[in-house]
Every structure is written in C-alpha cells, then in structure tokens.
C-alpha cells in the first residue's frame, strides 16, 4: 500500500524544516502544502526531497489538506496520513496509522491525544463538548474530534471530501465518516502544544458549531 504523508503548513518557516527532517526518517513520500504563507515556509520545504506545493493565497487548513490529498492520490497514493506542520505530532505514532490503514483496512483513522495531560483546560472542555455534540447529531463518538493527525484511505477521502476551508475540516470529516458509514478507528497519539495563538479559537469554534448544524441538515 502506497501511503503519503500530507503536511498542510502556514507560517511555519521556523519549524517546518525540523518536521520534514523527522518525517523523512519514516521513508514515506511527503507532500507539504504551503497555504499562502508570507514567510519562507515554502522555500524551506522546497529544500528537501519532497513534493512542496503552494497556495498563492491563504485559504485555510481544510483547503490545504484537500490539495495535499488530491496531489497524493494523483501521484498514486492508496492512502494518506495528515500531520500538523508545527511539530506537535510525533513520527513515532505513525506506525499506528499505517497498521490501521494497511493491515486492518480502516478507511478513516482518527488520532486521539490523551486530553487529560498537557492540553489547556479550555481546549479540553471545548473538545469534549464538540465530541458529545457530534455523537448526538451524527451517532459517532470520536474522543479527540479536533486532532489533525489522521489517516484516510482513497475510499475514505472520496467519501469524506470536505467543503470546509478552515478548521472545521476535522469535524466535517468525522460527520461524513458517520453519514457514509465508513470503517473507522482511533489510535492514541502523543501531542505537545507549542502554540497557544494558532489553532482553533473561540470564533472558529462558533463557526464550526453553525457548520455542524448545517451539515446535519444538508448531508
């Protein structure tokens, strides 16, 4: 099974190099999608033996993930694993995703952080509320709904092909997984929080909430 690692990146010139170096050790092909960064993220990524793509304007994490996934499948991938570009996801957890996709033939593999350790309290509560809400509305419980460390088979991508351009992507992916009855599982991942400013903010959370209601009606 040909598996690609897709890394959406935005303004990560200081960290992307280390992340790529680390992921290169895994021997899997890597696609970095620079989502219109004004800094040198693309330049740094382009130095390595990987596929570096660039959005000319900033569209959001969801759009960058979609571009990365489409590029991977065009290049012959059978599955993709998404990782964040700030180094919060560890390569040592990658085998869990590979096994779930390759051996157990799961279509969607959700990474789940141990939310009771090292995660800011507000994010912990927000994440839990979101998980419960999705569970009520769509009948799927994912313990760490907002974790960006995820794996998708080709079929999984085709079915969950999301519309969200921003941080709603993980939630939409989960909702679509439930609606299309895709084979899914959760694997434990270690996470280190580096950036308090980036990631899902209260405003993003409100937007996602409205989107969730919209998906419930539309999907």
């Amino acid at each position: 099974m040909k598996i690609f690692i897709v890394i959406p990146a935005y303004r990560e010139e200081s960290r992307i190099g280390a992340v790529i170096k680390d992921v290169l050790k895994s021997q899997y092909p890597i696609i970095v999608v620079d989502d219109g960064s004004k800094d040198d993220t693309f330049k740094v990524a382009n130095k390595y033996e990987i596929t570096a793509l660039r959005h000319k304007v900033n569209l959001g994490k969801g759009a960058a993930m979609k571009t990365g996934a489409e590029a991977a499948f065009k290049m012959g991938a059978d599955a993709v694993v998404f990782m964040d570009s700030d180094g919060q996801h560890k390569v040592k957890d990658l085998p869990n995703f590979i096994d779930a996709l390759e051996k157990d033939k799961f279509d969607v593999v959700f990474g789940s952080r141990n939310l009771s350790h090292g995660v800011p309290f507000v994010r912990y509560i927000g994440n839990k509320i979101a998980s419960i809400l999705i569970s009520i509305l769509f009948g799927i419980y994912v313990s760490d709904l907002l974790c960006g460390y995820r794996g998708l088979s080709k079929k999984g991508y085709r079915k969950t092909r999301w519309e969200s351009r921003g941080y709603g992507v993980e939630t939409e992916m989960t909702a679509r997984t439930a609606i299309y009855g895709l084979k899914h599982c959760e694997v434990p991942v270690e996470t280190v929080y580096y950036d308090e400013v980036k990631g899902v903010t209260i405003l993003d959370a409100i937007n996602i909430l409205f989107d969730v209601l919209r998906w419930r009606i539309r999907l």
């Binding site: 999608v33 219109g36 596929t51 793509l53 660039r54 959005h55 000319k56 304007v57 569209l59 759009a63 979609k66 571009t67 489409e70 590029a71 065009k74 290049m75 351009r165």
Partner: protein, 113 residues
C-alpha cells in the same frame, strides 16, 4: 417627519448618488447599475421630502406612523442586500478556492513530467 432627520437622509442619499457616479467613473459598475442606483436614491429623496406619498401604503399595512413604515422598509431592504452579498461572497470564495487549488495542483503535473 422630523426636519433634522430629513436633512440627514437627503445628504446621505446625495452622497450615495455621488459614490455611485464615482464607481461608474472607475468602471466598477455598469450603465444599468448606475441608472438603478440613481433612480433608487432619487425616489428615496422624494419620499423623504414628501413622506405623505407613502401614507396610503402605511394605511394598507396598518402602520400608523410613516417613520415606522420607512424603518420596516429599510430593514427589509438591508436584509435582502446582506443576503445577496453573502451569497455572492460565498460564490466568489469558492471560485478563488478552486482557482488557487487547481493552480497549486498544476505543479504536481509539472513535477511528475
């Protein structure tokens, strides 16, 4: 109608006509749009100067004060315009997304050749 309020409304309408003309000169709106805007704002000025023109409509809708009719009408107009702007923004965002993503994916084809 309060005179001060009428003056403010007329100045606002004249300003909007000026902006419409300015936009036309810059080529941002076409002939039909400038004509429509000038007609809309001229009617507004007329109604503001002669509010009794609306008396019959106010009675039909059981609205006692003309001012209330104008406020309700204004709200309806604003909501309609906001919805239109929202939809066109969504459409535009989708177009930009498709264009940017397609452009980015072209690099994959080039790299694969």
């Amino acid at each position: 109608m309060i005179l001060g309020l009428q003056i403010i409304a007329i100045i606002f309408a004249l300003l909007m006509i000026y902006f419409a003309v300015l936009n036309r000169k810059r080529g941002e709106i076409d002939k039909t749009e400038i004509i429509s805007w000038v007609i809309i704002w001229t009617i507004t000025i007329f109604v503001v100067i002669f509010p009794d023109l609306l008396r019959t409509y106010a009675n039909n809708f059981l609205i006692t004060r003309l001012f209330d009719l104008m406020v309700v009408g204004g709200f309806i107009l604003v909501i309609a315009m906001v919805s239109r702007v929202y939809l066109s923004t969504k459409k535009m965002e989708k177009k930009i997304e498709d264009y940017v993503r397609k452009d980015s994916l072209n690099d994959v084809k080039k790299n694969n050749k």
